[in-house]
């Protein structure tokens, strides 16, 4: 019982202490709170832009087209990625990617467009036998890398001033690295959602003459949709609360607006930077508790949505 009390302590503690501190005279700095919230939101959205398409597409591939042995490896590899401490990813972002990205924003943008186009065109041009396609995650790596490099090279030709970031540590950088960090979350949850679907349904679709692709799009995808949405929500919750990467890669400048090349400061970074310096029960302390509460409320909201979605997924599977 003691444990359970302990477990419920976080929200209780935050609420109680925030409520108990008198708002003596001055009201909290809502504008700053808004900017911090906006910073977290921007980082999250930017990360999801990278993580969600890649993670879900990879999970779809793993569930429907992948060689079964490779599927296990793929999962293990991504679990390994999940075990990598985020401070390490933050370091890579801060020290290695940031200086490079400062001059290659256009290249990255072009690469993000060129790579899928190249893959699509390649798929149109060649109809490979299915067995070999099952191993594509392995031999496709050079293909993807080549497409990305080509994109970057093409992008280097563009020298538009629109693509010059205000600071080497900006939202795009945070999004890229945070996206990598949440990739395992998206993948694992999407994979679970797809694996939970009865294989009999896919089999029935195949027996009716559907191709694997049609079975995926017409049967599996609609059935798993709520699970996939849950995956996105969980990933968003994770991004929103992630601290180290944002702390190291964002520049920590409290800027408003939605500039994807500008710096930002997130709720979590504010806590990590300011809390150790502030004395308990001071005005700054109270502000920071509000920040923590906001963070808590948002993550709980996202979790609740994910939970509802997962319940719906389960309800649909009951045959």
């Amino acid at each position: 019982m003691f444990v359970l009390l302990l477990l419920c302590a976080i929200p209780a503690y935050l609420l109680a202490s925030a409520a108990s501190l008198p708002f003596a005279g001055q009201s909290p700095d809502w504008a700053r709170l808004g900017i911090l919230f906006g910073g977290s939101l921007r980082a999250t959205l930017c990360a999801l832009v990278f993580a969600v398409p890649v993670g879900i597409a990879a999970a779809l591939f793993a569930a429907h087209f992948c060689a079964p042995r490779l599927r296990g490896w793929l999962r293990a590899a991504l679990e390994l990625l999940e075990a990598v401490p985020t401070v390490v990813l933050g370091l890579i972002a801060f020290a290695s990617i940031a200086p490079w990205l400062a001059t290659h924003v256009a290249g990255v943008v072009v690469a993000c467009v060129v790579a899928p186009c190249a893959l699509f065109a390649w798929g149109l041009a060649t109809r490979t036998p299915r067995r070999r396609l099952g191993w594509m995650p392995l031999w496709g790596v050079p293909l993807v890398v080549a497409a990305l490099v080509a994109g970057v090279v093409l992008g280097a030709g563009i020298d538009g001033t629109r693509f010059v970031p205000a600071s080497p540590w900006n939202t795009l950088l945070v999004g890229l690295v945070l996206g990598v960090a949440t990739l395992p979350t998206v993948y694992a949850m999407a994979d679970d959602a797809l694996a939970a679907l009865p294989s009999a349904q896919t089999q029935a679709a195949l027996a009716l003459g559907a191709t694997r692709w049609q079975a995926l799009v017409t049967v599996a995808l609609p059935a798993a949709m709520s699970g996939l949405i849950a995956a996105v929500c969980m990933a968003a919750a994770r991004c929103f609360g992630e601290t180290m990467i944002v702390l190291m890669a964002s520049g920590n400048t409290p800027l408003g607006g939605f500039d994807w090349l500008g710096g930002l400061r997130s709720l979590s970074a504010e806590l990590a930077l300011e809390l150790p310096r502030s004395a308990p029960s001071g005005a700054a302390w109270r502000e920071l508790l509000l920040v923590a509460l906001l963070l808590l409320a948002t993550t709980m909201l996202l979790h609740a949505v994910a939970r509802v979605m997962r319940t719906r997924l389960r309800a649909r599977q009951v045959a």
Binding site: L119, G123, T211
Partner: protein, 422 residues
């Protein structure tokens, strides 16, 4: 058939995404391995003749489009002798074989043309012979001896103490701090977690369901929030009380009232508890009901069944939860920043003085060293490589702990499977 073509294009897109995932993992591993160990590889010392007639000796530490940075002999202080050289400043570059590279105990590096030059440099740097930790002629080294030197440097990094400003030197205190923290965290979290899971496993109904979803939610809470909780509840709350009752004579200097090893471990234990509970309970739920009923039918009580049958059977799940807990605990730095991790705490948390183990002591942590060395080092050209070395070590530790728990789990599982009928 255009439909087939469209479909194969779609599959190629999905496959490309999967390939992307693999690529990211591989690239990350490769980059960490290279960047993490490159700082230990002996580099050559170059002799550069400049246009103004000067000749400088040093290591090339950075290369930009328009210039290169040379680290020359650091006579005054560490990080104080970088020279930025543009290509048109340089007349010629040479690699003289008999150049000496000397490293002092405080991290300073000196480059000398010969033994006499070296003695003069040492004198100028105010160092004596016993301050020298490494003295080699790097340009004359063969591949084999470079490898030897590399291994020696790695050993010095892992098992050595840092210099007084934590710019260079070893990371032993951080390593010990990380491991102690994880150990202490496990001691706190595992029994509680398993007990909670057992408790939950025996309950059904709305109450248990609500608890379960609360725990699920807690497992996904941002780590930094646990740091806030640890700071407010443990450090400022509990710690201040403990100080007032037991260490009143030392106030206002806090003993438990400031961040320390114990509070950090307790915070991490809170952080990992939900993960442990979820995974152990899932393991318990996976045990067939028939086994449980069989035991009950033999006259065992519910408690006996739990202790004698279910718990041993759930051992793989417990180990799995342990692995997850370790990965989460060893990798989360953000909460530690609030509850007692420090840049430099040369004293280890245990020593020869009673009570031998000091849970209130501040401590170092590899993850925080990564952050600190890269973001706050006064010498950025040393800080980033050092951060990478710490990062590689940290990843190695996390993966080792993680994998060993998983291997153990799989062994146990295999043994249990052998007990089952085919």
């Amino acid at each position: 058939m255009s439909r087939a073509r469209n479909e194969s294009a779609g599959v190629a897109l999905l496959g490309g995404a999967a390939a992307c995932c693999v690529g990211v993992v591989v690239a990350l591993a490769a980059w960490l391995a290279v960047a993490g160990f490159a700082p230990f590889w002996p580099t050559s010392v170059v002799e550069v003749s400049l246009r103004d007639g000067a000749v400088v000796l040093g290591e090339r530490v950075a290369q930009f489009d328009d210039a290169q940075v040379l680290r020359t002999s650091e006579i005054e202080r560490i990080g104080g002798a970088y020279r930025r050289l543009r290509p048109d400043d340089i007349v010629s570059t040479a690699l003289p074989r008999d150049v000496l590279a000397i490293e002092l105990a405080d991290g300073r590096r000196l480059f000398a043309r010969d033994a006499g030059d070296a003695a003069a440099l040492l004198a100028a740097a105010g160092a004596i012979e016993s301050d020298v930790v490494e003295r080699v002629a790097p340009n004359a080294l063969g591949f084999g001896s470079r490898c030897m030197l590399f291994v020696k440097r790695v050993a010095r990094f892992v098992a050595g103490a840092p210099d007084t400003s934590n710019i260079s030197g070893g990371v032993l205190p951080a390593l010990i701090g990380t491991l102690t923290l994880v150990l202490l965290m496990s001691v706190l979290a595992m029994p509680l977690g398993v007990a909670t899971a057992m408790f939950l496993h025996q309950r059904r109904g709305a109450y248990a369901r609500a608890l379960r979803s609360a725990i699920d939610m807690l497992a996904g809470m941002p780590a930094i929030l646990y740091g806030v909780l640890g700071l407010g509840l443990f450090v400022h709350g509990l710690g201040a009380r403990v100080d007032a009752w037991f260490f009143a004579d030392r106030l206002p200097v806090p003993t438990f009232g400031s961040g320390g090893l114990l509070w950090a471990a307790a915070t991490l234990a809170l952080l990992t508890l939900p993960v442990v509970v979820v995974s152990v309970e899932r393991g318990l739920a996976g045990i067939p009901a028939s086994l449980r009923e069989g035991s009950l039918a033999l006259g065992a009580t519910r408690e006996e069944t739990m202790w004698r049958l279910l718990l041993p059977l759930a051992r793989p799940a417990i180990l799995g939860g342990f692995a997850l807990a370790i990965a989460r605990a060893a990798g989360s730095v953000a909460p530690l920043m609030l509850v007692g991790v420090v840049k430099l705490a040369p004293a280890l948390p245990f020593d020869a003085h009673f009570p031998y183990f000091h849970p209130s002591a501040q401590f170092m942590h590899l993850g925080f060293s990564v952050y600190d060395a890269s973001m706050a080092s006064p010498d950025a050209l040393r800080g980033v490589p050092r951060a990478y070395a710490c990062a590689a070590l940290l990843v190695l530790i996390v993966l080792t702990l993680n994998l060993s728990a998983l291997v153990l789990r799989n062994r146990l599982r295999a043994r249990q499977r052998m007990l089952e009928p085919a």
